[in-house]
């Protein structure tokens, strides 16, 4: 899911870098000191969890937790996702230097959309939690597919995005279970207005 360098036109990557750095400044400004530490720990926790693989249909997948990050960190989820992506690029070569901005926009959009959905308050908490986990994966997959189609790679990636429906469903179920657990043990965590 992490686009490597050299695949998408460079002008697009540079423009995406500009947008994502501007978003990083805007969405990360006026952070309280306790908030900074919590975001750092949340980024570390989501990064640690994303390293673990879960069995699914004879294979294994790893979670992105973009939806859960959106629920917990709200609009601050963008700096969290950006930092986690930068770490993954440096440590594991997932993604590239120039495509960091584009990857942050793709994943961050899923996370911000989940943050918005969670805070709208429609439907039950369980339904919203599932939906947040689901869109947190599916929206980045769709954005990548659209970017590849526009870059001239044909519609092959749209088919791949459809394959991500299963992973999005799994992420939705796990997000639902996590939110249910947090609601029971620390409900205040799910009501942060950030």
């Amino acid at each position: 899911m992490h686009i490597a360098d050299g695949i998408i036109p460079t002008e697009w990557c540079v423009a995406a870098q500009g947008i994502s750095w501007a978003a990083l400044y805007w969405l990360g400004k006026r952070l309280e000191t306790d908030e900074v530490v919590r975001l750092g720990m949340l980024a570390s926790a989501t990064f640690a969890i994303s390293l673990a693989h879960f069995p699914l249909g004879g294979t294994s997948v790893h979670l992105g937790l973009y939806g859960l990050t959106g629920i917990l960190a709200g609009r601050r989820s963008f700096p969290v996702i950006f930092a986690a992506l930068l770490f993954q690029t440096m440590l594991f070569q997932h993604g590239g230097l120039l495509t960091l901005g584009l990857n942050a926009i793709n994943m961050g959009t899923g996370s911000l959309l989940a943050a918005f959905l969670w805070r709208t308050g429609f439907g039950s908490d369980g339904f919203r939690a599932f939906l947040c986990g689901f869109v947190g994966v599916l929206v980045p997959a769709l954005l990548i597919a659209i970017e590849f189609a526009l870059a001239g790679y044909g519609k092959g990636f749209l088919f791949m995005a459809a394959l991500y429906l299963g992973a999005a469903g799994l992420e939705g179920v796990i997000t639902l279970a996590t939110v249910t657990f947090l609601k029971t043990s620390r409900p205040g965590l799910l009501q942060l207005r950030v």
């Binding site: 992490h2 686009i3 490597a4 360098d5 050299g6 695949i7 460079t10 990557c13 540079v14 990083l24 990360g28 400004k29 952070l31 000191t33 306790d34 900074v36 530490v37 919590r38 975001l39 750092g40 720990m41 949340l42 980024a43 570390s44 926790a45 990064f47 640690a48 969890i49 390293l51 673990a52 069995p55 917990l72 601050r76 700096p79 950006f82 930092a83 986690a84 930068l86 690029t89 440096m90 440590l91 594991f92 070569q93 590239g96 230097l97 120039l98 590849f148 790679y153 044909g154 092959g156 990636f157 179920v173 796990i174 279970a177 996590t178 939110v179 657990f181 043990s185 620390r186 965590l189």
Partner: protein, 233 residues
């Protein structure tokens, strides 16, 4: 013994590699000649740094799935030529060469620059403070939380006498919730400790380095060579 590249200021190393990646990836599609020169320049950089070839190869392999998938799509989506070869082959080769050269340059940067130096470099290149602090926290605590998550998994496995079956996703979800709760509580303790030591939102830096004339000259010279390699074709 460290090579010349490893002795540069981290800002110079980051700028050198970003400029090189920018030049390599902006090479027009289907133009393959400059890649011989690019690879020679990469090889010279590697010689100057004494980076491990095995590490660089391993990191390039890690980037392979996405690069090969993209190249494959380009190769076959244009159909076949009259002699049965994929019509998009030059474009696919272009995508693969750009992808692997950029991956090699990134791997080279991480092989020659410690993560703490990269974070120091980003900070001094005026990255937003929110990013610097989150990265600083990640640098310190990713290992701790990964270890904690491994302990949670070990505890789950040692106490589960039968396969979890359909329940497993609920168990995984609660496990994630548990880790998030622990990290949240840990964050409160860390914050209290940091405030007691005078933390006011800024990340103190004790290491001071000077961006020397040689650092600047290296960035300019390497960028010039990559541009020359591209234009010479």
């Amino acid at each position: 013994m460290r090579g010349i590249f490893s002795r540069l200021d981290p800002r110079a190393r980051i700028l050198t590699i970003v400029a090189a990646v920018l030049i390599v990836t902006s090479t027009p599609m289907g133009v393959l000649w400059p890649f011989t020169s690019y690879l020679v320049l990469c090889f010279l950089l590697i010689l100057m740094s004494r980076a491990s070839g095995f590490y660089l190869l391993w990191r390039c392999l890690a980037a392979s799935p996405f690069i090969l998938l993209a190249a494959g799509l380009f190769a076959f989506q244009a159909g076949l030529t009259v002699d049965g070869r994929p019509a998009g082959l030059p474009l696919a080769a272009s995508v693969a060469l750009k992808g692997y050269t950029a991956a090699l340059l990134l791997a080279f940067l991480t092989a020659t620059t410690a993560l703490s130096d990269l974070l120091w470099g980003l900070r001094h290149l005026k990255a937003p403070e929110s990013l610097n602090v989150i990265l600083g926290m990640m640098y310190r605590y990713v290992g701790v939380l990964t270890e904690e998550y491994t302990r949670l998994e070990r505890a789950r496995d040692s106490r589960t006498v039968r396969p979890l079956g359909k329940l497993r996703f609920h168990v995984y979800g609660r496990q994630l919730g548990s880790l998030i709760l622990r990290s949240w509580d840990r964050a409160d303790h860390i914050h209290a400790a940091m405030v007691s030591r005078g933390y006011d939102g800024g990340w103190p830096v004790t290491i001071s380095r000077r961006f020397s004339f040689f650092d600047g000259a290296f960035v300019v010279a390497s960028s010039f060579l990559f541009v020359a390699a591209r234009l010479s074709s």
